[in-house]
């Protein structure tokens, strides 16, 4: 009668839980799997130069500025005695160091930690179409002829650029390209030549500089790369091979081809760029990212809690997962257990003692406890003192087993604290009553049911992925809650009933 209400509530819970989790995963990058690691790149620019006499020095270094495909997590500058300012000039971010009196070998450091994020990066606005250009006589004709050939071989701007670059890289095949390629001697000049040629085709193009992120002990150099605009978006090309795209390990450092650094008042200036990969736990990366964004997700994250409290929640958050097993086994399968959530508590105890020794201990304690209970029965004790007596015996048995195992050199890793002794006492009492009233069969059935469900709950609660998911995304408990609400309206048969009422299903009709 309240079904619609129930479905609406469940849908709301599922939607809100999942959307928060998806936001945390997609936007903040919280990992879905445990031990997922993200690649962090440490980039260090080391600018060195000398000054032989005491005097003022100004040094400028271009810095990566919202490079496409990467985010800068943090950056810092090491420059003893220098004043530092950074400014943004024409899509370029520039660090400017200045010192009034410098002498001898000078070292300036720029360090950045970046990580890959496909969606990141800000590209410059669309540039204006370049003016048509005129080259010196033999080259001008060669240019026009080459552009015509390439145009005939291409369909759009991207294929045009690719085809042009290929011709330039293999000049032997084309006399025009051969002639033009004499204008360039190194990669930078070749890239610049490509830009010139593209300007001839009225395609806006520029030489940009990229740094390849490779985990190597050697320093890396900035390489020229080609950025062209096709009227809709920026496209990138390798000026040497003509391949299109900006590979995932290329960091766009500068949007023009001018040198990355410049020193006034020093000589022998040199920039060494060193790159190293660092894998960091994706989780802590996400936390730092969220902190950087000042997201509410991090303010209400479990990781903000003190470590001991976190450890408690790591266990507590798994209890609803154990409850799934209980609901499934009781309402859908129809296994009988002692106490509703008792198997979950037993499963929690197994977490401490490991499964095999936990099961053995459970069996030992219950059977020894039962024997004591039957003996006490003959003494005709009243209920509560009798329960207290059994509890005491259970504690003593536990102590005895611990000492015995220790003497035998078996390390069971038993956590005495977590084994729910009071609960065990209740199991023993319930079981002995059932034993008396309904016979040993029923009692053993219930005991085994409890044990089997506890073992199953232990296995499910031990799944790393689940543990990770509920801890990192506690909001996933909301869809779980919805699942329980829906399970509460499950009025179909239990698996055990198919057997129980088997006789009715057979020949009728």
């Amino acid at each position: 009668m309240n079904r619609r209400h129930l479905y609406a509530l469940s849908a709301l819970l599922i939607a809100s839980g999942l959307s928060v989790a998806i936001y945390k995963h997609r936007v903040l990058g919280y990992p879905l799997l445990p031990e997922e690691s993200a690649s962090l790149w440490s980039i260090e620019g080391h600018l060195t130069f000398e000054r032989h006499t005491v005097g003022p020095v100004k040094a400028r270094l271009k810095l990566p500025h919202d490079p496409p495909g990467f985010r800068i997590l943090r950056e810092d500058f090491v420059s003893r005695g220098y004043g530092l300012t950074t400014e943004i000039v024409d899509d370029e971010r520039i660090a400017m160091w200045a010192v009034r009196r410098a002498n001898g070998q000078q070292s300036l450091y720029y360090r950045a930690t970046v990580y890959r994020d496909r969606a990141a990066g800000e590209l410059p606005a669309q540039p204006p179409f370049p003016e048509a250009l005129e080259l010196e006589p033999p080259f001008n004709e060669a240019l026009a002829a080459l552009l015509d050939t390439v145009r005939a071989e291409s369909a759009d701007v991207a294929t045009f650029v690719s085809a042009l670059l290929k011709r330039l890289s293999l000049p032997a095949a084309d006399t025009n390209a051969q002639l033009l390629s004499t204008l360039a001697t190194d990669d930078f000049e070749r890239a610049q030549l490509a830009v010139t040629l593209l300007t001839g085709a009225r395609i806006p193009a520029r030489v940009v500089q990229v740094v390849q992120l490779l985990n190597s002990p050697h320093t890396v150099d900035a390489r020229p790369w080609l950025a062209i605009h096709n009227g809709n978006e920026w496209l990138f090309f390798d000026p040497v091979s003509g391949a299109s795209g900006l590979e995932s390990n290329l960091l766009l450092w500068s949007w023009d081809s001018a040198p990355l650094y410049e020193v006034d008042g020093g000589i022998g200036e040199k920039l060494e760029i060193a790159v190293s990969a660092r894998t960091e736990d994706a989780l802590s990366l996400a936390e730092r990212r969220a902190t950087a964004r000042d997201s509410a997700a991090v303010q209400y994250s479990l990781f903000q809690l003190p470590i001991p409290t976190q450890a408690v929640y790591e266990v507590l958050l798994m209890i609803p997962i154990g409850a799934i097993v209980i609901v499934f086994m009781r309402n859908f399968v129809g296994v009988k257990t002692f106490g509703t959530f008792l198997p979950v508590l037993v499963a929690l105890a197994f977490r401490e003692s490991r499964l095999i020794s936990g099961v053995l201990l459970f069996a030992l304690l219950v059977s020894a406890g039962l024997a004591v209970r039957f003996y006490l029965e003959r003494l005709r004790l009243l209920l509560v003192p009798r329960l207290a007596a059994i509890l005491t015996v259970v504690v003593l048995l536990m102590l005895f087993f611990s000492l015995l195992f220790h003497r035998l050199g078996i390390d069971t890793g038993l956590s005495v604290a977590l084994f729910p002794m009071v609960i065990m006492t209740m199991v023993i009492e319930r079981m002995s009553i059932v034993w008396d009233e309904r016979g040993p069969m029923e009692a053993i059935k219930g005991g085994l049911g409890t044990l089997v469900v506890a073992m199953l709950a232990y296995v499910v609660m031990g799944i790393d992925v689940l543990e990770h998911l509920v801890f990192v995304f506690p909001e996933l408990l909301l869809p779980l809650l919805a699942g329980f609400l829906l399970a509460g309206r499950y009025t179909g048969y239990r698996l055990s009933e198919l057997a129980r009422f088997r006789a009715l299903g057979g020949p009728a009709k």
Binding site: M1, N331, G334, R380, L382, L383, V384, I433, E437, R438, G439, E442, G488, R489, Y490, T491, G492, Y493, R494, E497, L498, A499, R500, F501, R502, A503, L504, G505, G506, A508, K509
Partner: protein
């Protein structure tokens, strides 16, 4: 329903709890049936015949008064007021001084009986271990007609009453295995009863069909339950008495007093379907769809009986 038992209209536990017990039985009414002392008082006020209550023991201090309560009685029964499934019931056949003979013929010393009563008062048989009360009541002299099909104990009759309409019934016969108790899960024989005429049709023990009593060998089918009309009427009246829409009514047949209402159950078991070789669901749904709610108990009984005879009514009698 895709399963074979679904086609047979078997009512499962989940469905019973979700669609019937929770929907038709108000939680606040449960104490009326969970506490057998309250049930008994209620029944007496409503003129429903019950075994006579000699007295009750509320605390361990009351235990010695048991002797006074039963001084005039040769036999009596002690039962926990909150017990379930017949647990904790002791039937005393006769007693002299400090010795009590149970119906099984064994002797209980006063100390043993007192210990049992103390445990019962302490909550051993009540749900959740809450302190309980002990009822001391008349021991039913069961009608000898059931002698051939009973082993010790008292056979009883369970009728499922839905919205005041008796929809299904069975006869429960104690066996040696059930220790003289009439509970199916303890090994008693269940025999389905034709709801209109009170004739047993078919027997089960555990989940298996049986046609004869395992201890006495007597045929189970074809027994005619006497006072059937009266029993249906008592069962139907329990609906007004408690207000519970889905109810199990347990009756016994006393040799001299006729049918007596023993206890009520707000979550009656489902084995009655096995005993009747029929599912409850079609009958419950039929009542949901076709029954007139404002009928008097006698009219409700008559309506159900008319359905069984009327082939066109669409009532499935199994």
């Amino acid at each position: 329903m895709l399963t074979a038992i679904g086609r047979a209209g078997v009512l499962g536990i989940n469905r019973r709890n979700g669609d019937f017990v929770m929907r038709y039985n108000k939680r606040s009414l449960y104490p009326l049936v969970d506490d057998k002392l309250i049930t008994k008082k209620l029944a007496q006020e409503n003129g429903i015949p019950v075994p006579q209550l000699f007295g009750s023991l509320d605390t361990p201090r009351d235990i010695p008064s048991l002797n006074d309560l039963v001084a005039q009685q040769q036999s009596f029964v002690v039962k926990p007021s909150h017990g379930s499934g017949g647990d904790g019931i002791v039937v005393i056949d006769s007693h002299r001084g400090r010795r009590f003979w149970t119906c099984g013929g064994s002797v209980l010393l006063w100390a043993e009986l007192a210990h049992h009563l103390e445990n019962t008062l302490g909550g051993q048989y009540s749900l959740g271990g809450h302190p309980d009360r002990v009822m001391v009541e008349y021991r039913v002299k069961f009608d000898p007609m059931f002698n051939p099909v009973s082993y010790l104990g008292v056979p009883d009759i369970r009728i499922i009453v839905f919205l005041g309409f008796p929809v299904m019934a069975m006869l429960r016969l104690p066996t040696r295995r059930s220790g003289g108790k009439a509970n199916l899960h303890q090994g008693a024989v269940g025999a389905g009863i034709d709801i209109a005429y009170g004739k047993t049709v078919h027997g089960v023990i555990g989940n298996n069909s049986t046609d004869e009593h395992p201890d006495t060998g007597a045929a189970i089918g074809g027994l005619e339950v006497p006072y059937w009309q009266q029993m249906l009427s008592i069962a139907a009246r329990c609906y007004e008495m408690t207000g519970l829409g889905y109810l199990g009514v347990d009756l016994v047949l006393d040799e001299h007093l006729g049918p007596l209402m023993l206890e009520l159950n707000a979550r009656p078991g489902l084995n009655i379907q096995i005993a009747n070789a029929a599912g409850l669901l079609p009958r419950l749904e039929y009542v949901q769809q076709h029954a007139e709610p404002a009928l008097l108990p006698e009219d409700r009984v008559a309506w159900i009986q008319s359905l069984v005879n009327d082939r066109t009514a669409g009532w499935q009698s199994g």
